[in-house]
C-alpha cells in the first residue's frame, strides 16, 4: 500500500486511515464487523462520517442509457425540426463518427406539456412524462468525446480513458457503506445486458482501493454474483470456516500483522454475503401490485428484465447500498448492440421505441415506489446516456452521435422537481444556454450527497485526483 507517502508531511486523514485498514466495504470500523446487527444503520446520529456538509441524499441510482438517447425525441423536443424536415442543416456540421450525414429529421414522436410544471416532452416515455413534476431536466449537457467507450468513461469517471474510479466508486470511497453485507456500489444486469462499450472498466475503482469496485449482480440469474454460491452445504462451510478461523488465529498471533486480522474478518463478511445477496435478488415476497408497477407483468421480456433490475435497485437502496447502476438490454435494432443499446444510427423510430418501452414503465414504477416508501427523498435518480443524437439524419432513418448538446434528468433527494435547466439551439444541435458538463453533473450529485467535489480527492502517481478532474461546478438551479 502506498498510503505512507502521505504520512511524513501531514497527519492521516480519515480516509487514509480507513484505506490503511482497508476493510472491504467502504469505511467500516473493525468492530462493526462482528456486531450481530445484519442490516446496518447510518453510523450514529447527525451527519454520516464522510460528508463535508449536510447531505440532501444518501443514495444514487444511475439509470444509464448506454449508446446515447436522442434528446430531440424525448426531453428536448424541437418544433423547428418538423418545420425544416428534409432541409439541409443551416449551420456547418461537425465531423461525425460515420460521416454519413443526411438532412434535418423531424422526431417521429409528438410532444406536449406535462404536469403542473408543464415541461415539454415527447410521448416517447409516456409514464416518465407523467412524473414531470418530479424531474429536473438538464437540456444543455455537453461532453468532450464523440464515441461510446470514451463517452462512457467520461460520463462515469470524468476522464475519457480507463483507469480512473467510477462515480459509484468515488461515492463509496466518500461515504462508506451502510450495509456491511453488501458492497457500496452495485451494477445490476439482467437479460442479455452487458457492460457498456469500454467494458467493466467503466465500473472500476481505478486507483482507489479494490473494495470500491462495483459488484455486478445479474438479478435474473443464479448465482447473481460470481463465487457467491457456496460449494458446500452451510453446515460444512461453517465447519470449514471454523477450522480456518482457528488456524488463522494461531498464524495471526505469530505474524503480528494487522493486515492479516483484516483478511480474517473478510471471511465473516463473505459468509454473510452468501446469504444476503440471494435474499436480495429473491423477489417472490413482493406483491402483485408492486410487480405490476415495475412492469414485471409486461409481455415485453425486455421490460420484465429491466423491471427486475429496478425492483432490486429499490431493495438495494432499502438495504443501504450507496450507488446502484442499471443496465439496458439491447433490442438489436439499428446499430444498437449489447454494449450500446440506444445507438440507433438507423431505424431510430423502431429502436428508440423498443428501448423506451423497455425502461419507461419500470423507471416510472421505481420513482413511484421510492416515493411511496419515503425513499425518494434520500435517493438521487439520474437518467442519462453518454451523449445525445444529431438533429440531422444518418442513413435516412437514424441519428449520429451528438456530444455538443443533450439532455438528462435527475429526480429525488434535494433535486428541484418540475424544473428545466439550460437549453440547446432551435435545432437541438448545440447547448447554447448555460452549457453543462459531466463534471457539473457529478459536482452536483456529490453536493447532494454532502460531499465537496473539490475536496473528495485521492493522491495517485503524484497528483490529487477528483471525479471532476479540475473542473465542475454545483448546478445551483437544480437544487430544491
Amino acid at each position: 500500500m502506498n498510503a505512507s507517502q502521505f504520512s511524513h508531511c501531514c497527519p492521516l486523514t480519515r480516509r487514509e486511515m480507513l484505506r490503511r485498514c482497508s476493510l472491504g466495504f467502504g469505511g467500516l470500523a473493525l468492530s462493526a464487523l462482528f456486531s450481530e446487527n445484519l442490516l446496518g444503520a447510518p453510523t450514529g446520529p447527525g451527519l454520516p462520517p464522510g460528508t463535508h456538509f449536510k447531505a440532501r441524499a444518501k443514495h444514487v441510482i444511475l439509470a444509464y442509457m448506454s449508446g446515447g438517447v436522442s434528446h430531440l425525441d424525448s426531453f428536448d423536443p424541437k418544433p423547428e425540426l418538423k418545420r425544416r424536415h428534409g432541409e439541409k442543416m443551416p449551420v456547418p456540421v461537425k465531423p461525425t463518427m460515420f460521416n454519413d450525414n443526411g438532412n434535418i429529421m423531424a422526431s417521429p414522436w409528438e410532444s406536449r406539456r406535462y404536469g403542473r410544471s408543464g415541461i415539454e416532452m415527447t410521448d416517447l416515455f409516456p409514464q416518465i412524462a407523467e412524473l414531470a413534476d418530479e424531474l429536473a431536466v438538464i437540456r444543455s449537457m455537453t461532453t468532450k468525446v464523440n464515441e461510446h467507450a470514451q463517452g462512457n468513461y467520461m460520463m462515469h469517471t470524468g476522464f475519457p480513458f480507463a483507469g480512473h474510479p467510477s462515480a459509484g466508486a468515488w461515492t463509496g470511497y466518500g461515504l462508506g457503506s451502510e450495509n456491511r453485507n453488501l458492497p457500496a456500489f452495485v451494477v445490476l444486469q439482467s437479460g442479455s445486458a452487458q457492460p457498456p462499450h469500454g467494458g467493466v472498466g467503466v465500473f472500476s475503482s481505478g486507483f482507489l482501493p479494490a473494495e470500491h469496485q462495483a459488484s455486478i449482480l445479474r438479478v435474473d440469474r443464479d448465482p447473481a454474483l460470481a463465487n457467491i454460491k457456496p460449494v458446500e452445504s452451510d453446515l460444512l462451510q461453517r465447519r470449514s470456516l471454523g477450522f480456518i478461523r482457528d488456524l488463522d488465529a494461531r498464524f495471526s498471533a505469530t505474524a503480528g500483522e494487522p493486515q492479516i486480522d483484516a483478511a480474517i474478518h473478510n471471511y465473516e463478511t463473505a459468509y454473510r454475503m452468501q446469504t444476503a445477496v440471494p435474499e436480495l435478488c429473491d423477489i417472490t415476497g413482493e406483491t402483485d401490485a408492486t410487480r405490476k408497477l415495475y412492469g414485471l407483468e409486461s409481455d415485453d421480456p425486455a421490460t420484465v428484465a429491466y423491471g427486475r433490475q429496478c425492483l432490486v435497485a429499490r431493495r438495494l437502496i432499502e438495504r443501504g447500498v450507496r450507488f446502484v447502476e442499471l443496465s439496458c438490454i439491447s433490442a438489436g435494432i439499428g446499430a444498437g448492440g449489447a454494449g450500446n443499446p440506444w445507438d440507433q444510427h438507423g431505424q431510430i423510430k423502431e429502436g428508440h421505441g423498443a428501448m423506451a418501452h423497455q425502461v419507461d414503465q419500470p423507471l416510472a414504477g421505481l420513482l413511484r415506489d421510492l416515493k411511496s416508501r419515503g425513499l425518494l427523498e434520500d435517493t438521487v435518480v439520474i437518467f442519462t446516456g453518454e451523449f445525445g443524437r444529431t438533429p440531422f439524419s444518418q442513413g435516412g432513418s437514424g441519428r449520429d452521435h451528438n456530444p455538443y448538446g443533450f439532455s438528462l434528468w435527475m429526480a429525488g433527494g434535494g433535486v428541484k422537481g418540475g424544473s428545466v435547466h439550460g437549453a440547446t439551439d432551435d435545432l437541438g444541435y448545440y447547448a447554447v444556454q448555460d452549457p453543462c458538463t459531466t463534471y457539473d453533473l457529478w459536482a452536483t450529485v456529490l453536493h447532494l450527497l454532502g460531499l465537496d467535489h473539490e475536496r473528495l480527492t485521492y493522491r495517485f502517481g503524484g497528483r490529487d485526483f477528483r471525479l471532476t478532474d479540475v473542473y465542475g461546478r454545483v448546478l445551483k438551479s437544480v437544487l430544491a
Binding site: S22, E147, F161, G199, S204, N227, I244, L247, Y271, G462
Partner: protein
C-alpha cells in the same frame, strides 16, 4: 528553454542572476545589490514555486497577488500581506508559520522548511526589498525569470543531486554482519535504539526467497534439500539455484510489465487486439533470465531499432533489441476518433508518463497543461519530449535478423532471368503467328480462328467423347435411383464448387480449393474443425456471386456451442458475409448469419438434437428477390423471409475479393468458430428450388464418382463405353505422331479464340482497333484510320489537359524514385526503374499476370517478402488522394492521420488493394482535410488497422506503387495513352492485311525489347494488353520449357520464412512539437526543439531523427542521478516489500525521501559498477543478514517503528495475485510450465487454465476476475507498487471459485496416492502449502476437522474430504502471506 541544466552550466546561471540584479537595483528603491541578490536567490524562487499558482497572474485567491511588489504591499481581503520591517506583524509570516487556523500556507503542501521561514523573516525585517515592479504575465508558461527561479529552487532536491559514494557508517555491533548493506541498515537501527530480530528459521527463509525470486512456492524436495544441507553456503546455493531457474525470468518480467502497463488489447469499444504483444512479454522473460543489463533494456525500450550493435538472438534468429519498443504500443486507444490529433496527444501523454515514471521516477506528464507544480519540469520540457515521441510511427516491426528473410535471392534472380528468357522465346514464336492468325480471321470474315492440320482427328475424338458422356448420364441416373431419388433430374443440380474431403480439401468441381487453417484437418472423408480457430478457407471466387445456395452436411461436436458458422461466403475482409450459423442468437438453433445480422432473422425451426457424429443437412438459399430460406434435412427451417432495411438486399460477392469459409462464421468477429465434422459442402451459383433441396437431401452427400457411375452401368453399356474410350486413345496416338505440334497450336488457338472476343470489344486494345477497321475495304481504309487516329489524339489531348487542370502530382515513383519516402522490411519494397518487370505467380497455372510499370514494388521476387512503404508527413490539402497501384492478398493503402494506427470505417481513408494490373485507387480524404498525415502501403500482416485483412495462402501479400496525385473531384486521373496509342504513331496502313502485319510486327518488336530490358512504357502497355488478354502463352501447360524453372522458383520461394512481428515504432518524419496552450491541442504555440528535461540535459537534440537514441543515452547515462537510484529502489521494493524510497514511482517532491539515502546511493553506484546486473544486485540483497531476519518484531520495534521503516525485522507481505494463482496450480500438480508463445485465455474454464499467470492474455476490457480480485494492476499507467487490499471477494474466490475447487480436488487425488497414513498426509500437505509441518495443536485441529468432514452426510468419501481439507489450507492466511 532558458534555464540551465547539468552542472557545467551553473556559471551561466550566476551571470544571469547578476544581470537580473542589475535591473532590480534600479527598480527597487533604495535596495542594495546584496539585498536584491538575497531576494533573487532566497525569496523569489519560493514565491514563484509555492505562491504564484493561487496568488499570481492566473488566480488571486482571497484577492491577493504575490507576483509583484505592490501586490504584496496592498495585500488581499485580509489586509496587507506584509508590514515591511516587521515580520511578526506580517500576515504572510503568520500564515507560513501556520499560526492562523484555516490559512496555513502553502495550502495543501508541506510546511516550508524552517530555514526558508527564517529567510522570509529576515527579508521582511530588512524592509522586504523587492525588484518586481510589474505583475507576471498571465500566460500558460511562467514568465521566464519566475520559471528560472522556480526551476533552480526545485532542482535543490535530493534525487536530482549526483549520486555520491558514501562512507560505510560505523556501528557498535560490528560482529552482527560484515555485509556492507547490513552495516548501513544496522547503523540506522542503532541510532534509534533498535536491535535486529533473530534470524528466520530455514523453512521460513526458503519459502520467502523462493517466492521472491520465482513467484512460486518451494517444492518438498527443495525444502528438505535445504534443511539437510549443513554446508555453510547452503543458503547461497539455494539463491543461485533460484537465480538460474527459468521461473526467475517469468516472475521478474511481471514486475516490469507492471511498469509499462502491459496489455494485449487497446481497450475502448471492441477492445481490439494488439497483435503479437505476447512477444514483448517473452522478450522480458528471456531478458531477465539472461540477466541483460538494465541500461541495455532501457536503451532497447527507447531506441532498440537505432542501436549501433543490437542484441541478436541467434537461437530464434531475431533481433531482440527491437522487441523493447513494443511498450510504446501498449496504450489504450479510443475507438475511431473523430479528432485524431486529440487522440495522438493522449497517446503520447501515456508514453511520456510511462517512460518517465518507470525509469526516472518522475511525473513528467503533469507538465502537459502547465509547468509542473512541484518538480523542476517546465511545460516546454514536456513538449520537447512530445516531439521525440511524435516523430515515430506505430507499426508492426519485423524482428527477424535480415539474413533469415533475405534468403534465396541470388537463386531466385537467376531463375527469374531464365524464366524471362524462356517466356521471351515462346512469346516471339507466338507473336510471329499472330499476323497469320489475324489474316486467317480476315479471310473467314473476321471471326473464325485458322484451321490447323489435324483438326479432323480432333473432330472425331469429340464425337466419341459425346457418346461416352451420354452413357455416363445413364449411369448417373441409375446411381441416383439407387439412392431413392425418384426423379433423377432433381438430385443432380450442378454446384459450382463442392468439397467432399476425399483425402484433401480440394474443390472437386471448380477451382475453389480449400486451405486448412488453424489446425483444421481432413480425416476419413470429413473436415474436422475444433471451434477454437480451425477452419477451411478457399481460394478467392473466380466470378461474381449473387444469387446462390449454400449446402452442407455437418455433424456438430456438441450442441452447447454458440455462434460458429458452418459454411460462409464472405468478402475478403469479412465485412460482408452470408453464412449458416449454429446457435448464435438462440441456443441450438440455426440461422442464416450475416454482417451485423442485417440479413438474419430468428427462425422458427426446431432446436437441434443431432447426436454426436450424426449428420445434419443444411441449405441456405438466397434469391434475387432478396428472399432467404433455410432448410434442414430437406425441409424448410422456419418460413422464408425477406429482410427489411439497410444492407438487407442480396449482396454481390465480387471475384478475387470473396471466399468460402467452412467451420467459421466470418473473419473479424467474436468467436466465429464451429466445432464438429463436415462431410461435404457445396456452393451453387443459383437458388435451388425446395424440391431440389429435398432431392439433394435424399441423394445424400457424395458427388457421384466415375467409379460409381461405371459400376451402375449394365454390362452392355459398359462394353460400349470402354470400346469408345479405346478408339479415342488410338486416335490421339495417331494425331500426336502425324502432327507433333498440333497440341501446342491447338492450345494457342483455343486460348486466343476464347480471348479474342474480349480483346476485340475493348476499343483500347490493338485488336479492338483491328476489329473496328477490319471490315473496311482497302480504298476506304486509310480514311477510316485517319478518322480514328484523329479521334484518339483528340481524346488524349483532352484528357491530358483535364488531368493537368484537375490533379496535383504528389509523387511519381517511375520518374523520381522514392526520395523522401520510408521503406521498411528485411526485403524492403524495391524501386524498379524500368517498365516491364514481372512477378512469378506463386501458385496456379499462370506463370505471370502481366508486366508492371516502373515504380516501387514489395514483391519483385516474392509475395512472402513483407514491407511498408510510407510517405513523409504532410498536411492533407485535398478532398481526395489517388494512387496508381497494384496489390492484393490483404495489402492495403491507408492515410494515417496523427499516427492513429488502428482506424477503420469510412472516416479513416484506406483501401485494400485488389488488382495485379496497375489501377487507380481513390481515397476520400475530405473528412481528414487539414490533418497531418502520411500515406502508408503495407503488406497484410504489417497493417495495424483493427480490421486488417488476412494474407493470402502461404502468408503472401503484395503491393506496388507508381504514382500519387492529390485532387478534389471524384474521379481519378484518366488514362492519357492506351495500348493502341503507339499504333497511330506511324501513317495509315494500306489495308486490314497491312494493319494485321503492323500489329504482329510490333508485338514481335515489343517482345524483343522486353527481352533486352529496353521496353518503353508505351510498349509495356501494348505488350501487357496482349499478355493479359490471353494472346500470348502464360500457362505452365503451354510452356513446358519454362515450367521446370517456374516450379523450382516456386519451391525456393516457398522456402522463404514468413516474418515474425512485434508491435513497435519506426522512425518517420522528425519534427518539433508545438507547445499546446493549457494542453489544448487546438491551441498550438511555437514548436519546442526536441530534447530531454533540462534537469538532466539542457541541450536540444542535434539530430535529423526523432531523438530517441539521444533520449536513451540521457536516461541510461550512469551520470543520470535518477535512473540507477530508481531501478535499485524498485528491486529493493520487490525484495523487502517496500522501497528505501517508499514511493517507488515518484522521486519528485511529492514522493517520499529515502529512509537510507546513503545506502541507496551505495547500491546505485554498485549497480552501475556491476554492469546494471539485476541478478547480481538481487543476490547481494537476499544474502544480507537483514533479508534473512525473522518477521517477529521486538517489543521496542513494535513501539518505535511499527511500520518497520528501519528493517529490524522482516515485513509480512501478501503474495501477489499471480503468485497466489500459480501456487494453487503448482501445489495441485496441474501447473503447465511451458514457456513463451501466445497467451492463454484468462476466462477459460478451470481445466484449461494451467499455465503460469504471466502467460494469461491480458485484455483491457476482460481482465482475469481472479487476478483482479487480488489487486493485479489495471493496465493504464506505471505501477511499481501494487495495493494489497482485503476485500470479501477474495474470500469468496478462495471459498467458491471453481478454479480453486478444481485445484484442491487435484491436490487431494495426488496426496491420497502419496501418503496412506492420514497424519502423514496432513503433515505433507502442510509442508507443501506452508513449507513447514503442523505443530501438535494444529494437527489436533486438523484431525477433528477431518473427522467432521468424513461424517458429513453430503460428502464423506475420501477424495471429497481431502479436497475440502486442501481447499481449507488454501484459505488459510498463511497460504497467501509471506513471513
Amino acid at each position: 528553454m532558458q534555464h540551465t541544466g547539468k552542472t557545467k552550466a551553473s556559471g551561466m546561471w550566476t551571470k544571469r542572476i547578476a544581470s537580473l540584479c542589475l535591473l532590480g537595483s534600479v527598480a527597487a528603491h533604495g535596495a542594495t545589490p546584496e539585498q536584491i541578490d538575497f531576494f533573487e536567490q532566497r525569496i523569489r524562487p519560493v514565491l514563484a514555486n509555492e505562491c504564484y499558482e493561487c496568488h499570481g497572474p492566473a488566480k488571486q485567491k482571497g484577492g491577493l497577488r504575490l507576483d509583484f511588489r505592490a501586490g504584496l504591499l496592498k495585500g488581499g481581503d485580509s489586509g496587507p500581506a506584509l508590514v515591511p520591517g516587521d515580520s511578526k506583524a506580517s500576515l504572510i509570516m503568520q500564515s507560513i508559520r501556520h499560526e492562523i487556523a484555516d490559512s496555513e500556507m502553502p495550502k495543501k503542501r508541506p510546511k516550508l522548511a524552517d530555514a526558508v521561514i527564517a529567510d522570509f523573516a529576515g527579508w521582511v525585517d530588512q524592509g522586504a526589498p523587492d525588484p518586481r515592479d510589474q505583475p507576471a504575465a498571465a500566460t500558460a508558461v511562467s514568465k521566464a525569470a519566475d520559471w528560472e527561479a522556480t526551476f533552480e529552487a526545485r532542482k535543490d532536491w535530493w534525487s536530482f543531486k549526483p549520486v555520491r559514494l558514501p562512507t560505510l557508517p560505523a556501528v557498535t555491533n560490528g560482529a552482527w554482519s560484515d555485509h556492507p548493506v547490513d552495516r548501513f541498515l544496522l547503523a540506522k537501527m542503532e541510532e534509534r535504539g533498535l536491535e535486529p530480530a533473530a534470524s528466520a528459521d530455514r523453512r521460513t527463509l526458503i519459502r520467502r526467497v523462493t517466492f521472491a525470486l520465482t513467484g512460486l512456492p518451494p517444492t518438498l524436495a527443495e525444502i528438505r534439500g535445504f534443511l539437510d544441507d549443513a554446508a555453510p553456503d547452503a543458503y547461497l546455493k539455494v539463491v543461485d539455484r533460484l537465480l538460474a531457474s527459468p521461473r526467475f525470468g517469468e516472475h521478474w518480467a511481471r514486475h516490469w510489465m507492471d511498469l509499462v502497463r502491459f496489455a494485449e488489447t487497446h481497450g475502448s469499444e471492441g477492445d481490439p487486439d494488439i497483435p503479437n504483444a505476447w512477444r514483448y512479454r517473452d522478450y522480458l522473460v528471456r531478458a531477465f533470465n539472461a540477466d541483460v543489463p538494465w541500461d541495455q533494456l532501457i536503451r532497447e525500450h527507447l531506441a532498440g531499432d537505432l542501436l549501433a550493435k543490437p542484441r541478436l538472438n541467434d537461437a530464434e534468429g531475431f533481433n531482440e533489441s527491437l522487441l523493447g519498443l513494443a511498450h510504446f504500443r501498449l496504450v489504450e486507444h479510443g475507438f475511431n476518433p473523430v479528432d485524431t490529433l486529440d487522440e495522438q496527444v493522449k497517446t503520447i501523454d501515456s508514453q511520456i508518463d510511462v517512460v518517465t515514471k518507470a525509469f526516472q521516477g518522475l511525473t513528467v506528464s503533469c507538465a502537459r497543461c502547465h509547468d509542473h507544480k512541484f518538480d523542476p519540469i517546465g511545460q516546454r520540457d514536456y513538449y520537447a519530449l512530445q516531439g521525440v515521441f511524435g516523430s515515430v510511427r506505430p507499426t508492426q516491426l519485423t524482428i527477424d535478423q535480415p539474413e533469415r528473410l533475405r534468403v534465396r535471392r541470388p537463386e531466385l534472380e537467376t531463375l527469374k532471368a531464365e524464366i524471362k528468357s524462356g517466356l521471351a522465346e515462346a512469346w516471339e514464336k507466338s507473336a510471329h503467328r499472330l499476323t497469320e492468325d489475324l489474316l486467317a480471321r480476315l479471310r473467314s470474315g473476321g471471326t473464325n480462328a485458322p484451321a490447323i492440320l489435324g483438326d479432323d482427328f480432333r473432330d472425331r475424338i469429340g464425337r466419341l467423347q459425346q457418346r461416352v458422356a451420354e452413357i455416363d448420364n445413364l449411369g448417373r441416373e441409375a446411381v441416383l435411383r439407387l439412392r431413392g431419388v425418384t426423379n433423377a433430374n432433381q438430385g443432380s443440380a450442378r454446384p459450382m464448387a463442392a468439397w467432399t474431403f476425399d483425402g484433401d480439401a480440394r474443390d472437386s468441381v471448380g477451382g475453389l480449393n480449400g486451405e486448412l487453417v488453424g489446425g483444421a484437418f481432413v480425416r476419413d472423408g470429413r473436415l474436422i474443425v475444433d471451434g477454437k480457430g480451425a477452419y477451411l478457407r478457399t481460394a478467392p471466387l473466380d466470378r461474381p456471386l449473387r444469387e446462390k445456395t449454400l449446402e452442407i452436411w455437418v455433424a456438430p461436436a456438441n450442441l452447447d456451442q454458440r455462434g460458429g458458422g458452418v459454411i460462409t461466403v464472405q468478402s475478403e475482409d469479412g465485412a460482408v458475409f452470408d453464412s449458416i450459423v449454429f446457435a448464435e442468437k438462440e441456443p441450438r438453433r440455426w440461422l442464416a448469419g450475416s454482417d451485423g445480422f442485417r440479413r438474419s432473422r430468428n427462425l422458427d425451426g426446431p432446436a437441434e438434437t443431432a447426436a454426436a457424429g450424426a449428420l445434419v443437412h443444411l441449405v441456405a438459399v438466397y434469391r434475387t428477390n432478396h428472399s432467404i430460406a433455410l432448410f434442414r434435412d430437406g425441409a424448410a427451417y422456419g418460413a422464408a423471409y425477406t429482410p427489411p432495411g439497410d444492407g438487407a438486399t442480396l449482396r454481390t460477392f465480387e471475384p478475387q475479393s470473396a471466399r468460402v469459409l467452412l467451420g467459421m462464421r466470418h473473419t473479424g468477429g467474436g468467436s466465429p468458430f464451429f466445432a464438429g465434422e463436415i462431410e461435404e459442402a457445396r456452393l451453387y451459383d443459383r437458388a435451388l428450388e425446395p424440391d431440389e433441396v429435398a432431392a439433394s437431401f435424399r441423394a445424400g452427400p457424395g458427388l457421384i464418382s466415375p467409379d460409381a457411375i461405371a459400376q451402375a452401368l449394365t454390362p452392355d453399356q459398359r462394353a460400349v463405353r470402354e470400346g469408345r474410350l479405346a478408339e479415342i486413345a488410338d486416335l490421339r496416338r495417331v494425331l500426336a505422331q502425324r502432327y507433333p505440334d498440333y497440341a501446342e497450336r491447338d492450345a494457342e488457338r483455343i486460348r486466343r479464340n476464347s480471348a479474342f472476343g474480349v480483346a476485340t470489344k475493348d476499343g483500347t486494345h490493338p485488336l479492338g482497333v483491328w476489329s473496328r477497321l477490319s471490315t473496311h475495304a482497302a480504298e476506304s481504309f486509310a480514311g477510316e484510320w485517319r478518322a480514328l487516329s484523329a479521334k484518339q489524339n483528340e481524346e488524349s489531348a483532352e484528357r491530358r489537359k483535364s488531368n493537368a487542370d484537375t490533379f496535383r502530382p504528389a509523387w511519381d515513383f517511375a520518374g523520381k524514385g522514392a526520395d523522401g519516402w520510408f521503406r521498411y522490411g528485411a526485403n524492403p519494397p524495391e524501386v524498379v526503374a524500368r517498365p516491364g518487370e514481372f512477378t512469378v505467380q506463386p501458385e496456379g497455372e499462370r506463370i505471370l499476370a502481366g508486366l508492371l510499370p516502373a515504380g516501387v514494388f514489395s514483391h519483385r521476387l516474392s509475395e512472402r517478402h513483407n514491407g511498408v512503404f510510407a510517405s513523409p508527413r504532410f498536411k492533407v490539402s485535398s478532398d481526395r488522394i489517388s494512387v496508381r497501384v497494384v496489390g492484393g492478398k490483404g495489402a492495403r493503402i491507408r492515410l494515417i492521420t496523427d499516427n492513429y494506427p488502428i482506424g477503420q470505417g469510412n472516416i479513416f481513408p484506406q483501401a485494400n488493394l485488389n488488382s495485379d494490373a496497375p489501377t487507380w485507387i481513390t481515397l476520400d480524404t475530405a473528412y481528414r482535410r487539414d490533418s497531418t498525415a502520411y500515406l502508408e502501403f503495407a503488406t497484410a500482416e504489417d497493417v495495424t488497422s483493427r480490421d486488417r485483412s488476412p494474407a493470402g495462402p502461404g502468408g503472401r501479400s503484395f503491393f506496388g506503387v507508381e504514382r500519387v496525385v492529390f485532387h478534389d473531384g471524384q474521379q481519378p486521373p484518366m488514362e492519357e495513352a492506351n495500348a493502341s496509342t503507339g499504333l497511330f504513331e506511324a501513317g495509315p496502313p494500306a489495308s486490314a492485311e497491312d494493319l494485321s502485319k503492323r500489329i504482329g510486327d510490333r508485338l514481335v518488336q515489343a517482345v524483343e525489347a522486353w527481352r533486352r530490358d529496353s521496353l518503353s512504357e508505351g510498349d509495356r502497355v501494348f505488350l501487357d494488353a496482349f499478355i493479359r488478354s490471353g494472346q500470348l502463352p502464360t500457362s505452365l501447360a503451354e510452356l513446358p520449357a519454362v515450367a521446370t524453372d517456374v516450379l523450382e522458383y516456386r519451391r525456393l520461394e516457398g522456402e522463404i520464412p514468413l516474418p515474425r512481428r512485434v508491435p513497435g515504432v519506426m522512425e518517420g518524419t522528425a519534427y518539433d512539437a508545438p507547445l499546446l496552450s493549457r494542453g489544448d491541442h487546438r491551441k498550438p504555440m511555437d514548436p519546442v526543439p526536441r530534447g530531454y528535461l533540462p534537469l538532466i540535459d539542457s541541450h536540444p537534440y542535434a539530430t535529423q531523427g526523432s531523438g530517441r537514441l539521444e533520449l536513451a543515452n540521457d536516461i541510461a547515462d550512469p551520470g543520470n542521478p535518477l535512473t540507477s537510484r530508481v531501478l535499485v529502489n524498485r528491486i529493493w521494493h520487490c525484495l523487502f516489500g517496500r522501497g528505501l524510497v517508499g514511493t517507488v514511482d515518484n522521486f519528485g517532491r511529492l514522493g517520499e525521501t529515502p529512509s537510507h539515502p546513503e545506502l541507496l546511493d551505495f547500491l546505485a553506484l554498485r549497480f552501475i559498477e556491476h554492469g546494471w546486473s539485476s541478478k547480481e544486485l538481487i543476490r547481494c540483497l537476499v544474502t544480507t543478514r537483514a533479508y534473512q531476519l525473522s518477521s517477529t518484531a521486538s517489543e521496542r520495534a513494535g513501539q518505535v517503528d511499527p511500520s518497520d521503516e528501519w528493517l529490524s525485522h522482516a515485513r509480512v507481505r501478501r503474495l501477489e495475485a499471480e503468485s497466489i494463482r500459480d501456487s494453487l496450480l503448482a501445489i495441485s500438480g496441474r501447473l503447465d510450465s511451458a514457456m513463451f508463445g501466445p497467451g492463454s485465455d484468462a476466462l477459460a474454464p478451470p481445466a484449461e487454465q494451467r499455465r503460469r499467470s504471466v502467460y494469461l492474455t491480458v485484455k483491457r476490457n476482460f481482465p482475469s476476475p481472479f487476478l483482479e480480485t487480488f489487486d493485479a494492476p489495471k493496465p493504464f499507467t506505471t505501477l511499481g507498487q501494487r495495493d494489497a487490499t482485503n476485500v470479501p471477494a477474495q474470500s469468496l474466490a478462495l471459498l467458491n471459485d471453481p478454479f480453486v475447487v478444481e485445484q484442491a480436488a487435484q491436490w487431494a487425488v495426488s496426496m491420497l496416492g502419496a501418503e496412506s497414513d492420514p497424519d502423514a498426509r496432513v503433515r505433507r500437505m502442510f509442508e507443501i502449502a506452508f513449507a513447514r509441518p503442523p505443530d501438535d495443536g494444529e494437527l489436533a485441529l486438523c484431525r477433528t476437522y477431518l473427522d467432521d468432514l468424513a461424517k458429513d452426510p453430503h460428502g464423506g468419501e475420501a477424495e471429497r474430504v481431502w479436497r475440502d481439507f486442501g481447499q481449507s489450507l488454501f484459505n488459510l492466511k498463511e497460504f497467501i502471506y509471506l513471513r
